[in-house]
């Protein structure tokens, strides 16, 4: 038996790691992976609260978060491929113009 706060602590740690990665990394693919890490942290707290409150709604929300993450990954990676074709770099500091 583990108190809910341990899960929330792990969830907060994952979210903080995601934020840190988003701020310190420069590769656009790694930035995307940091966003996925943040979403995973949020999912963990959804599941932890669903268990605490004895309701299944949290599980449904996690399912929807996953679907949105999948859609985001598909579109985002397509955008990354498109950016790489036009600029030939993955460094976000060099992608500083909206239009070439």
């Amino acid at each position: 038996m583990i108190p809910i706060s341990y899960y929330l602590l792990l969830s907060a740690f994952l979210f903080a790691c995601g934020v840190t990665g988003f701020l310190i990394k420069r590769n656009i693919i790694t930035l995307f992976m940091s966003i996925e890490l943040m979403l995973n942290g949020v999912n963990l707290s959804f599941i932890a609260f669903a268990t605490r409150l004895q309701t299944l709604d949290g599980h449904i929300f996690v399912f929807f978060v996953m679907v949105v993450a999948a859609a985001e990954a598909a579109v985002g990676l397509a955008i990354i491929i498109s950016v790489y074709r036009t600029r030939e770099t993955l460094n976000v500091d060099r992608v500083n113009l909206l239009k070439l």
Binding site: K25, N43, I47, A50, T51, A74, A78
Partner: protein
């Protein structure tokens, strides 16, 4: 036993998350993200979320990360350049780290194990109940999700197509 499993998988999860930050190569970050997602699936099982654990492995660790690794290999993403440490990061980051650590230790001291939780084996979120809720209470959201996925597929095809610019 439950605490041991939680600490094991939580440790693997946190280690993978930190490894994602310190790795220089993109492919290593992606592989450590897969480790994070796999251990999170096991933590979901500890919490009794059977359906979510399976979906986590299939969608996240399976589909999404395969897509990431495809793109990393396609774009030949090697080592990345790291940003220089800014002063703002030092001014806000170090006190923030201390505050987070203190809150974490306080929570660990305040809440002892064996208060509440789900017993291992007593699965609480079985797939049939989740599916029932998905097709009754959340039917509209589920259908709207299918439109979202359809639009995302079309957007991905249009954006990644060659020769549109």
């Amino acid at each position: 036993m439950h605490l041991f499993l939680f600490l094991l998988f939580g440790g693997i999860c946190a280690g993978g998350a930190v490894n994602l930050l310190i790795q220089r190569k993109t492919i290593n970050s992606a592989l450590s993200l897969i480790v994070v997602m796999g251990s999170l699936a096991l933590i979901y099982l500890l919490l009794g979320a059977e359906f979510v654990a399976v979906v986590q492995v299939i969608i996240y660790a399976g589909a999404i990360m395969v897509l990431y690794i495809f793109v990393i290999m396609l774009l030949n993403a090697g080592e990345e350049e790291q940003a220089k440490g800014s002063n703002v990061a030092k001014i806000f980051g170090i006190p923030g780290l201390f505050a987070g650590g203190i809150i974490g230790i306080w929570v660990l001291l305040q809440h002892r194990p064996a208060e509440q939780g789900v017993k291992i084996g007593a699965l609480y979120g079985p797939a049939d109940q989740v599916g029932w809720m998905l097709f009754n209470k959340y039917l509209l959201a589920f259908e709207v999700t299918s439109i979202l996925v359809l639009i995302a597929i079309m957007g991905a095809v249009v954006l990644a197509r060659r020769g549109n610019n």
